[in-house]
């Protein structure tokens, strides 16, 4: 059985590296190294040492100019050759929150035209103008080739925390290619007790008891409209996570590393312990590498 080596790339302002490393260790990775990007730029470390490259959450370079932009440019200008080799060898790349913004702004996601490194999308300021921090329901796309979301439950529940999480696309052509290519791996959906298109005010009528009763049911229909706050950012098609055509490069705005123990769930004392949805994503990555 092959050993799994995971790189958690660090840079100024990244602040979820340790949680993400913990998640990969829980998932069974034998080697998990949080390493600063300068080690790779200066050549003291090599991307080729690893099976999985992870860009974790945080505020790289303060998100001073826009979320993930400076780190995306730094990687494009100083590490792109190594990244191309890494992806060419069939290895995995995961971007969480700020890391997702970096992958999108590098042109690695969604890559609806394979091999193209054109920025086809962006992750922009939330429509609310606020930092949105809460648990959200997501619908997994079973038709997506994404290796990170394989065999997960249809509905996933993990936290989101961002000020710039609105996925926007460069053109209608890109949008037209996303669906057939299976690029949309995760979408925000209404909670189980909220009807499709229902606003938060309308949903407020639902009692807490009804919510608890419905908690195990399937979530709302993503083909309809998922309204704020259930879709926290105003993303096109309620997009929460995107992969490339191979399914080996994946990014998402929510934080799966924040739901890796049953007790992370906000209602675990009432609803009991269950398999943490976030941990499933990391296990999928580790299992993929073992089987590759």
């Amino acid at each position: 059985m092959s050993k799994v080596s995971v790189l958690i790339l660090r840079a100024a302002g990244i602040n979820c590296d340790e949680e993400t490393a913990h998640a990969f260790r829980l998932a069974g990775a034998e080697r998990v190294d949080p390493v600063h990007i300068n080690a790779f730029i200066q050549g003291s470390r090599r991307l080729s040492e690893y099976d999985v490259l992870v860009l974790s959450g945080g505020f790289s370079y303060g998100d001073d100019l826009s979320g993930g932009k400076v780190l995306a440019n730094e990687m494009q200008c100083k590490l792109m050759e190594d990244v191309e080799t890494f992806t060419g060898e069939g290895k995995l790349i995961l971007g969480i929150c700020n890391g997702f913004q970096v992958l999108v702004k590098m042109g690695l996601l969604p890559q609806t035209e394979p091999g193209g490194r054109r920025q086809e999308a962006t992750v922009f300021y939330n429509d609310s103008g606020k930092f949105e921090c809460r648990w959200v329901y997501l619908r997994r796309n079973p038709a997506s080739p994404c290796v990170f979301t394989r065999d997960m439950p249809e509905t996933i529940y993990i936290p989101v925390a961002n000020g710039e999480g609105k996925v926007m696309l460069a053109s209608e052509d890109v949008q037209a290619r996303l669906g057939p290519g299976g690029h949309i791996a995760l979408q925000y959906v209404n909670p189980p007790w909220v009807a499709t298109g229902e606003s938060a005010e309308e949903a407020a009528g639902a009692t807490a008891a009804a919510a608890r009763e419905a908690a195990g049911a399937a979530a709302g229909d993503v083909t309809g409209e998922t309204a704020y706050p259930w879709s926290p950012n105003g993303s096109v098609d309620a997009i929460a996570g995107i992969c490339d055509a191979t399914g080996r490069i994946f990014g998402l705005m929510p934080h799966p590393e924040r739901y890796t123990h049953p007790t992370h769930h906000p209602r675990w004392t009432r609803e009991g312990c269950r398999e943490p949805d976030g941990l499933h994503i990391f296990r999928n990555a580790v299992n993929y590498v073992r089987g590759a």
């Binding site: 370079y61 932009k69 400076v70 920025q119 962006t122 922009f124 300021y125 429509d127 926007m168 696309l169």
Partner: protein, 162 residues
């Protein structure tokens, strides 16, 4: 030919079809000040790039670093200020000399990452275009109480069409 060292002022704004959440939020804040005649606010990011930059290098910084290609557009603005139409007010807020500009330092690092060696420093500021039948005293109130922190920032406001 070597480019001459000078300052280029860049304004970055959301494209018209893109939600300007900052501007919308500020409009509500201005209404909360009791100034009901404000009809709209557009938020502008301002950058002053100092150095010897060729046209290609300037474009590399503005298009490749400062402007989101999907949601924003940029323009170079003259010393006269933001392009404000009659019936609008332009407001610029910049740090006072000596105040650390952390975002400017990030923009400098990002510019150098792009291979632009001639960049010497970057100052950052905020711009606002206020629409509505406002008078100067109201705009001054908005600037002092909402848009600028007078301890560390200075502001300038001007009326369109003047």
């Amino acid at each position: 030919m070597t480019a001459e060292s000078k300052t280029r002022r860049i304004a970055v704004v959301n494209r018209k079809e893109v939600v300007d959440a900052v501007g919308e939020g500020l409009r509500g804040d201005i209404l909360d000040l009791g100034i009901g005649s404000v009809e709209g606010v557009r938020h502008v990011r301002l950058y002053a790039l100092h150095g010897a930059l060729s046209a290609a290098e300037l474009d590399r910084i503005t298009s490749g670093l400062l402007t989101d290609p999907v949601t924003q557009e940029h323009l170079e603005i003259a010393d006269a200020g933001l392009p404000v139409a009659p019936g609008e007010w332009g407001v610029e807020v910049w740090f006072r000399p000596g105040v650390t500009d952390a975002v400017g330092e990030t923009a400098l690092k990002g510019s150098r990452d792009l291979g632009v060696a001639g960049i010497e420093s970057v100052d950052t500021g905020r711009g606002y275009i206020l629409a509505g039948p406002l008078i100067r005293s109201q705009v001054d109130t908005i600037c002092r109480r909402l848009l600028a922190n007078d301890v560390i920032e200075r502001y300038a406001c001007y009326e369109g069409g003047q």
